[in-house]
């Protein structure tokens, strides 16, 4: 419990004074935990699912986006609903615990009332509670587990490997795991995981040379006498969105046909329930579910969408596939109960449970493990770099406040005209008045290719880069999307037409208050180049210097490009 009861009541009073409607009766009565986490088992086959925890072992703040636009056929559909549109779609009451967990609404006040989210010690308690009434339930880890924190970077993900084994993960599929290199992945899979019975599955990773499977495509398990199959789907664009040289011998891709082949194979071997553990991203999962027959559910990740209830999708043969996405940063645990009768799924129940650390006791063993992991690094992690007076976050289609800080640090530190910062969806949030510690800074940038760069680009090249990234986000066909957000810009103003095609989305570009000249060269700072052999100061040194120098971060100006043609789109609330 990070807040005393007195502090907690003070926050509630402040929240009430600010007009926020809290589910105060249950909160004040202290009966939220028992009531909230009460989910009696139903059916006979159960899966527990978490994804994209980004190596956050401790509880954190995480602000959900207020811009998550859907274009083309995704317009107005899950997961492209934000704020009150999301609440309305699912019939969630404003001011409730679920509203606090699933939307950005009243983020500062609401999250103080419900506490930090996630944390493996609290997640462990919830997993065990769900397992207690679901014998044989499998715990699935959707990947992006090894990357995202200082300790995972410094231990080459050993901290997360150990924590996941302790948590009781049964099956995993990867994405950012690959940025520790193919050899490191193999080392973990063949040693730590093999010894502890953790399966690592990916039907869509094959060798370049012969197209052989690199990992098991799927595993079959027995649950209450029923055969189930879990097929792995790694992030299809790992060698494109992340450095190719880190997994030089492997090919990824979506591979619908091979997915269908493995579904059929598993069914032929007797699987009565077939699920996919996917890191495709929600839009890709929705499309895949419409093209492949015989999948009962896709437990998805990558796009960090916390999806309250599954989306049922009709397959080519008319069968239904339930598509879920379980958020990020350890904030949620998905619980799916299937009722299987006469070899068929005849019913289901699903909840995506928020992991509120204030309402779930820490599991002592996991807490001890985390303490041990952190001990050698505590001094460095807790260094206060600056005090923060704003809400700092990243998630959203365009710049977040954290990105503004990073881009400004790059521009000042590298002497650039403007800066790019990658539009990744990970990175925790910081509340007003909280210090920016070294640990919180690293949450934004803990990667294995952190070098900063200063390039001389023409205006035309800058536009091309922005068009390229924008197409990865807004291509009308999900199979051409890569699941990140728009590249973050510092010192560049522009307009964007998400509904247009590549080459036609970005306009009205300005740098230093002047229209961008396509032929003029500009000094552009950036980091996280996917090219091999790039040299440069790591991003954390650049940003740490900037923060130590500024001492206080306040009045961060959030830049939002002019968004054209999205009037009425429920994926945006400004």
């Amino acid at each position: 419990m990070s807040m005393s009861r007195r502090e907690f009541l003070q926050v509630l009073a402040a929240a009430a004074a600010s007009g926020l409607v809290l589910d105060s009766k249950s909160v004040l009565a202290g009966n939220l935990p028992a009531h909230f986490y009460d989910m009696p088992a139903s059916g006979n086959v159960s899966f527990l699912h978490f994804t994209d925890c980004h190596a956050q072992l401790m509880p954190v703040w995480f602000r959900e986006p207020n811009v998550n636009l859907g274009v083309g056929s995704s317009n107005g559909k899950v997961p492209h609903l934000v704020g009150d549109k999301f609440l309305k779609h699912y019939g969630i009451k404003p001011g409730t615990a679920d509203a606090a967990a699933f939307t950005y609404i009243d983020f500062d006040t609401a999250s103080k009332a419900y506490g930090r989210v996630g944390g493996f010690a609290h997640l462990k308690t919830l997993v065990d509670k769900m397992r207690a009434s679901r014998p044989g339930a499998l715990l699935l880890d959707g990947g992006d587990t090894w990357q995202g924190s200082a300790t995972s970077l410094w231990t080459k993900a050993q901290d997360m490997v150990d924590a996941c084994i302790q948590l009781g993960v049964d099956v995993m599929t990867p994405h950012w795991e690959a940025t520790f290199g193919a050899d490191r992945m193999m080392e973990v899979v063949q040693n730590d995981f093999a010894k502890n019975g953790v399966e690592f599955v990916a039907q869509n990773i094959i060798t370049n040379e012969f197209g052989d499977q690199v990992f098991k495509p799927y595993v079959m398990k027995q649950m209450n006498g029923i055969q189930v199959a879990i097929i792995g789907q790694a992030f299809p664009y790992t060698p494109i969105a992340n450095p190719r040289y880190m997994v030089p011998d492997w090919s990824f891709g979506i591979r619908d046909e091979s997915m269908q082949g493995f579904v059929d194979e598993a069914r032929a071997k007797g699987a009565k329930v077939v699920v996919v553990l996917s890191h495709n991203g929600m839009d890709v999962d929705l499309k895949m579910a419409s093209r492949v027959n015989g999948i009962d559910a896709i437990f998805g990740g990558h796009t960090h969408d916390g999806i309250y209830q599954p989306v049922p999708v009709k397959g080519p043969d008319g069968g239904t596939c339930l598509v879920t996405n379980a958020g990020s940063n350890g904030k949620f645990l998905g619980v799916m109960d299937f009722d299987v009768k006469n070899d068929k799924v005849v019913g289901w129940k699903y909840r995506l449970l928020p992991v509120f650390s204030n309402f779930l006791a820490a599991d002592p063993k996991m807490e001890a493990l985390i303490k041990k992991i952190r001990a050698p690094y505590e001094a460095k992690l807790s260094e206060v770099l600056a005090v923060n007076e704003d809400t700092l976050y990243r998630r959203g289609n365009f710049n977040g406040t954290w990105d503004e800080v990073i881009c400004q640090a790059l521009i000042e530190g590298k002497g650039a005209d403007a800066a790019f910062s990658p539009g990744v969806r990970w990175g925790t949030s910081i509340m007003p008045g909280e210090p920016i510690t070294y640990e919180r800074m690293m949450d934004q940038m803990a990667i294995t290719y952190p070098q900063t760069t200063l390039n001389s680009f023409t205006g035309a090249q800058i536009k091309d880069i922005m068009e390229d990234v924008c197409d990865n986000l807004f291509n009308a066909d999900p199979y051409y999307q890569q699941g990140g957000d728009m590249v973050r810009t510092g010192g560049i103003q522009y307009s964007v037409r998400p509904g247009a095609t590549i080459g036609n989305r970005i306009g009205d570009m300005m740098i230093k208050g002047k229209p961008v000249d396509p032929n003029k060269k500009y000094k552009m700072a950036g980091w996280a180049s996917v090219t091999e052999g790039v040299q440069g100061t790591p991003i954390w040194d650049v940003v740490a210097d900037y923060l130590r120098d500024k001492k206080v971060i306040k009045n961060v100006k959030l830049y939002q490009p002019k968004i054209i043609g999205m009037e009425g789109n429920p994926g945006i609330a400004l």
Binding site: E209, A241, G253, H304, R425, D471, Y479, Q482
Partner: protein, 155 residues
Amino acid sequence: MNILRRNVLKGAGAAGAVSVAMAAGLLKPGMAFAADWNKAVFESKDLGSVMGAVGGAGAAAGDISVKAPDIAENGAVVPVEITSNIAGTESIIIIGEKNTQPMLAEFNLSNGAQGFISTRIKMGATSNVRALVKAGGKMYTAAKEVKVTIGGCGG
């Protein structure tokens, strides 16, 4: 995958698949590099002249599948598989529509060989990979878009 076959092929990897096929007696040199190499077509700089020269301008859609990645992992080696189920397939041509030299390869098949080729092509920009199939004196076509992107910035 047969380990022996793998090692044999690995050993021959540097020499390329075509020479392996030759070594295995599947193709004779004269067949691989046919005498009627069409310099003009291969050196055409635009799609229109290639299509005109190979007689594919009025090609009809046929039972052809072009298998290639949605997004190329490496533009320098994009895997492409073309299957023609059209009876009497005589030749398969691969075209990279936006390549500086769009005509990439022509495979001539004979004696009822299966209409299947698998190779790697080079692409500099997002474009269609087009297959042209000649069968029974007629031309058929199919295409698949392959996106070539600068990469980075994934979630």
